[in-house]
Symmetry: C2
Subunit: 356 residues, 2 copies
């Protein structure tokens, strides 16, 4: 599949799912109209459409129908966008998909509520699956979603715990554990699992397919970290260097700290302990901490270059993509040949080469 | 039932449900331990235990067993406490159940995540109901929860919409609509409905019982507004006058504005438009607004007294309690005589007379 064909597939899936989200969100002009508009804000922004494509492609490559999976794919987008809104608050992020984050545009109270509203509306469509898919698959999808939410919240908790403990002495394996929980479960593993359930795949084979998805997700996230440091803001849609400002535990930064000279490491950790914004959240514990300066962030960026950490990240991402390919090869025999299987295969190269 | 017996019943239900919450929240010492501790923070604080008691009493007064309802009652508490945490952020509240609100103690990022974590953990126990209650009741409980979350988020949205539009020209009916959605659905209607489903009550009768619960909830919330203005902080556990500082649309304040002299009304609305805290959330739209002074809040408090608005609220609460009694009388014939039915009956007087 050519890159152009791949992007066309992703765009089509995104449009299908966005239309389905519009059907899920009630359009009551009298009440809560402002809320419902804001629930469409992130979903309508330019996005890659990876989750919808994974979900739909997995279902269809296994012989399932589009209608069997579309509603669940839309629910995953509701969950994902709800978590994005709340993550942006938690991370004090400034930009999302080329625009200001929701809490910057409308304030934290509204953004918290919009995320909650999206989570609240996600249960009913999954119950409606009972009528269209039958009880067994509908319940297995509910179980998959329950697992997904637990894993992703635990991953977020793990990361917040590192922040609170000022933990920086972390190995690549710690990073991968966090990424699997925080990113892979809701953006890769569960979309593929739900596509497979909707297509009534034998449960024994679902693990093989989700193993592919998990490895793909790790490669994707490492590439995302690389783009955050070395990407083009117009393509990437988020602020370049935002991870350094936010003090995110990325594979790159952890490698840089492990390979820095002791005095550079100490200086970097001092800088990383500083806030991003002045008393942004009014938390008592943050009162009095100074904010990072552009010079200090430039120091971190130079350290990353000196330690060759971006090259290290590229090599690790590439190795995970290789693992994803091996997992895919193990499934290829029982995936139907055609555009849907090709899409799944092509995503392996895509996650490494993408610029946004 | 004497007040002492009623409090004993509430306390017992609260303890049963708290123990069940501990069973739902995983106790993994390695990962996310800090998160799991924080999830117990609000549930372990002194609380009335109304929802657990309503849920358990409804089930048992209909001949259901405690075990049939306990897990679902615990899930309702998870939902309720998650919404409390997020509401406290949205309302910039300072105190909750006698202690600092979670976001004041740990910062907004952690508080957003703890609430999300509680919501995330709430799906699995409801799926586990399938094994213990059978498929039909388990699915009806899931449907009840889906409805509850939608109603309460819509109620919250309605209120936030009033804040954004600076809407103050509101009737008692507007207030009641908001309270039914925001408070009654998750604290009264759904607990009773789930108790009834767990006891396998004929669906036709559930509406009669939830009508009682809804009316009880409106009376409860009006009394809560009264305590917020005229209560004792040591009993009430929240800041007295907090609703005025936060500019909450209460029955009391709306009545005061409707009955104030035109110049007092204009002054009150000017004051209510001011923020509570300085740039508490870093929202662009709030930048530059001045905060309320204690003198200005005292002006609002005096206005409430001049217009007799607290007496009006007492009369309205009493009328709703009367409506609740009439609804209860319609159910009494098919509720089993005994302590559980007595508890439901006694709550009507309790919501009006409570001091906390």
């Amino acid at each position: 599949m050519t890159p152009a064909e791949l992007h066309l597939y992703l765009d089509e899936c995104r449009e299908l799912v966005t239309a389905e989200i519009r059907r899920i969100i009630p359009a009551d002009p009298r009440r809560g109209a402002a809320l419902y508009d804001l629930m469409l804000d992130y979903p309508l922004r330019e996005a890659k459409g990876l989750r919808p494509a994974l979900c739909i492609a997995a279902c269809r490559a296994l012989g399932g129908k589009l209608e069997a999976v579309l509603r669940s794919a839309a629910v995953l987008e509701l969950y994902h966008n709800a978590f994005l809104i709340h993550d942006d608050i938690e991370d004090e992020s400034l930009l999302r998909r080329g625009g200001p984050t929701l809490h910057r545009a409308y304030g934290v109270p509204v953004a918290v509520n919009v995320g909650d509203a999206m989570l609240a509306l996600s249960l009913q469509p999954l119950l409606d699956n009972i009528e269209t898919l039958g009880l067994g698959p509908a319940l297995r999808i509910l179980q998959a979603v329950a697992r997904m939410t637990r894993e992703s919240v635990e991953g977020q908790a793990l990361e917040l715990d590192w922040v609170r403990r000022a933990a920086w002495d972390l190995a690549d394996e710690d990073y991968v554990t966090m990424v699997e929980q925080k990113t892979c479960w809701y953006s890769f593993i569960t979309p593929v699992a739900i596509g497979a359930i909707a297509a009534r795949l034998d449960p024994g084979r679902i693990d093989a397919l989700t193993s592919f998805a998990r490895r793909l997700g790790v490669a994707f996230q490492i590439q995302d970290d690389i783009l955050n440091l070395a990407g083009d803001v117009d393509e990437y849609g988020k602020e370049i260097g935002g991870d350094l400002w936010e003090g995110k535990r990325t594979l790159i930064l952890l490698h840089a700290l492990r390979h820095a000279a002791p005095e550079d490491r100490a200086e970097a950790i001092r800088i990383l302990a500083l806030s991003r914004h002045e008393s942004a959240h009014g938390s008592a514990s943050e009162a009095g901490t100074r904010v990072k300066t552009p010079d200090e962030v430039r120091f971190l960026r130079a350290l990353v270059d000196r330690t060759g950490s971006i090259d290290h990240a590229r090599a690790v991402a590439s190795a995970w993509a290789g693992e994803a390919q091996r997992a895919f090869d193990g499934c290829a025999a029982w995936l139907l040949p055609g555009v849907h299987r090709d899409l799944l295969q092509s995503l392996i190269q895509y996650v490494l080469e993408r610029v946004r």
